[in-house]
Amino acid sequence: MHLHKFEKIWLIFGIGSLLVFLTVLGVSAFYLGNQPPSCLATIDPEKVDTTAPFNEPGLKKVEGKEWDYELVFVASAFNYTPGEVQIPKGAKVKVIATTKDVIHGFEVAGTNVNMMLEPGYISELVYTFNKTGEFLILCNEYCGVGHHMMTSKIEVVE
């Protein structure tokens, strides 16, 4: 099939840009480790409160891991536990969260912490909190009539 000369140039340029773009994404994902929150661990959604680490939500210092703290959150209609948490500035934190009922979102506005919480699954993401201030946690996946009331707060302190 014949392609017009300009169309060839246009497509070569387009496909070339696409390859560059995909390479950047790929290197970032597989070499730098910037993967989406894809933790493959599961949990019984009805036994969240009695299963570690969700039996003790909140911030915990850990030793000998690639991160300094673990921050455990339990979501349910329509609140997060804990309702507020303080994190020291510069802390490398693994956020670990799950839900007891329906699907919820877990977004820390103003950061790249953003993930889906689904019943039966554990979601994890590592993030370093380098800026002080208050960060709003909110549910960004519709979960029912109180969806827009569902919130928590992270305070990053010196």
């Binding site: 696409l18 910037n34 689904e118 960060f135 709003l136 549910c139 519709y142 009539v145």
Partner: protein, 551 residues
């Protein structure tokens, strides 16, 4: 594409079937548009809905009625007309199948609508389990899907009949594009039909206690992304075939148009995981694979853009345009059948770029489920696609009802397109900006306990309300035009514009009509992208989820 039927009218009986679809589509526009207006007003923080009506209830109405009903009915109406026009009148049997499809879809829509109005199905357009709607809601949506299978059957039969009567010839382009679009749709709807029939219906009826959430979401999104291409491809049909004729030029190339539709078929289905990038339960390597497949859709989109602008430019130059961009002035800007879809094409440029951001492995993290996404699909489906449908309606409705699109209506249609562009610039622009700051989608107004970050979003939400109100005005103008074209415009002959190929274009290769090949490759790609992750989601499934009714 030599077309002996170039000057014939669509058969009255087929026209009636198509018009039935268009009526439902525009009633949906009226209802969904009103729901949209109420939403932007509530979200601005300045309005509370009168007692009894929930924000999320009208949000469900808005999504279902515009995302599913308006689009599906309009598309099938357009397809029935296009096939009848280019491949010949339907047989009585095919038309009966079409009517069965129409009534199944309509009854299904009514069932779902009643359940939403009774507040038994406030689960939004995506109905994510374990929020559990009334079983009649799921059954209604199933009927809508099954109805489209009847429509497909009628159109496939017509296509087969044409092939038999014209051996060795490439099929009429509009018919070919319709068939591709429907194959994609039918393959994709298998996913949503499977989750609804085997998971959600038994569960909402109480026959089983729990649902495997991972599987239900994978099946939903296996359908959910092709769905957006099901909206887009009929717009591409109009861009490739109708618009060149409307401006009085020729199509750039028949073969390239077919090629890009084939590529869209191949690359639109095995990509659903890019909607699930931020979910647990799926290995990141599979997510990345589907991100790559998603981006391949960029190629046919670039081909389409080239083809369209090549058509515009060669038309302008044939009218004696000089200089690099002189041809722009020669385009028929006073003709709403061209200008309104053209605004849509322009909106598709930022819309498509935003789509690349959404589908990116890491950038998705920033915008996922923020109102940025809402801004994105209000540019793509609610502007690029919808304005093209409106542009089609301006000639299709009078063509089918034996009336004409008068100068006065043309003027009004131009105003409609321009108000839409202005309203959407405000609304979608504000949505994109607020989304980058973190404002969530699908949320009622909230100050999140007086959080400083949430206070930053308020001005944008007011801008959304301003834009949404202008859009509602545009919808009213559109509805006025539709009623005029269907019932009041003067009698006459309105052309069904079908473009012809440029004289120097090459013969269309027959390989494009080789369905075993294309469906086979599609199936392989889907198996490649989905088999292992689905097995994984089933084998390593957590205990199932019970149903909840939180509204």
């Amino acid at each position: 594409m030599l077309n002996q039927l170039a000057n014939t009218k669509v058969d009255r009986r087929d026209g009636k079937l198509a018009m039935a679809h268009l009526y439902v589509a525009f009633i949906a526009l009226a209802i969904g548009g009103l729901a949209g207006l109420l939403q932007v007003l509530v979200r601005s923080g300045k309005l509370e809905l009168p007692a009894g009506i929930g924000y999320y209830q009208i949000l469900t109405v808005h999504g279902v009625v515009l995302g599913l009903v308006l689009t599906t009915f309009f598309i099938i109406g357009f397809m029935v007309s296009s096939v009848s026009k280019t491949a010949g009148t339907f047989t009585a049997r095919q038309r009966t199948l079409g009517w069965i499809g129409f009534w199944l879809k309509t009854i299904g829509t009514a069932m779902a609508a009643v359940m939403i109005l009774l507040n038994e199905a406030t689960v939004l357009f995506t109905f994510y389990a374990p929020l559990q709607a009334h079983f009649l809601f799921y059954l209604g949506l199933t009927l809508v899907i099954v109805g489209t299978w009847f429509d497909s059957a009628a159109i496939y039969m017509k296509y087969g009949q044409w092939k038999k009567a014209n051996p060795g010839q490439p099929s009429p382009l509009l018919t070919f594009m319709t068939v591709i679009t429907l194959i994609m749709w039918d393959v994709a709807t298998l996913g949503v039909a499977t989750t609804v029939l085997f998971q959600l219906l038994p569960w909402s009826l109480g026959l089983v206690d729990t649902v495997n959430i991972g599987v239900s979401r994978a099946l939903f999104w296996y359908f959910g992304h092709p769905l957006v291409y099901f909206w887009l491809l009929p717009a591409y049909m109009a861009w490739y075939v109708v618009i060149p004729k409307v401006i009085g030029g020729k199509m750039f190339s028949d073969s390239l148009a077919r090629m890009s539709f084939i590529l869209l078929l191949l690359f639109s289905i095995p990509v659903g995981f890019h909607h699930q990038l931020l979910e647990p339960g799926i290995d990141p390597a599979w997510k990345f694979l589907q991100v790559v497949l998603t981006f391949l859709v960029v190629i046919p989109s670039l081909m389409t853009a080239f083809s369209l602008f090549a058509t515009f430019e060669s038309f302008g130059r044939s009218k004696g345009a000089k200089g690099l961009f002189g041809w722009v002035k020669k385009l028929p800007w006073g003709d709403a059948r061209f200008t309104v879809p053209f605004i849509g094409m322009l909106a598709f440029i930022p819309g498509g770029a935003g789509g690349i951001v959404n589908a990116s492995h890491q950038m998705n993290q920033v915008v996922h489920n923020t109102i940025w996404v809402t801004g994105h699909f209000h540019l793509t489906v609610a502007t690029a696609v919808l304005l093209t449908y409106f542009g089609v309606a301006y000639w299709l409705i009078p063509h089918l009802t034996g009336r004409i699109f008068t100068k006065k209506m043309n003027k009004l249609a131009l105003i409609q397109g321009i108000t839409w562009a202005i309203g959407m610039t405000f609304m979608s622009g504000a949505m994109h900006a607020a989304g980058l700051l973190g404002a969530p989608r699908r949320s009622s107004f909230s100050d999140y306990g007086g959080a400083a970050q949430a206070a930053e979003w308020v001005p944008y939400q007011i801008a959304q309300a301003v834009g949404g109100s202008i859009l509602f005005l545009s919808i009213i103008i559109m509805l006025y035009i539709v009623v005029n074209l269907a019932f009041f415009a003067p009698k006459g002959d309105q052309e069904f514009p079908v473009g012809e190929v440029a004289d120097n274009a090459e013969k269309t290769p027959m390989v494009f009509d080789n369905w075993k090949l294309w469906v086979g490759i599609t199936a392989c790609l889907i198996l490649f992208a989905y088999t292992l992750p689905l097995i994984d989601l089933i084998q390593n499934a957590p205990p199932g989820a019970k149903g909840f009714k939180f509204w």
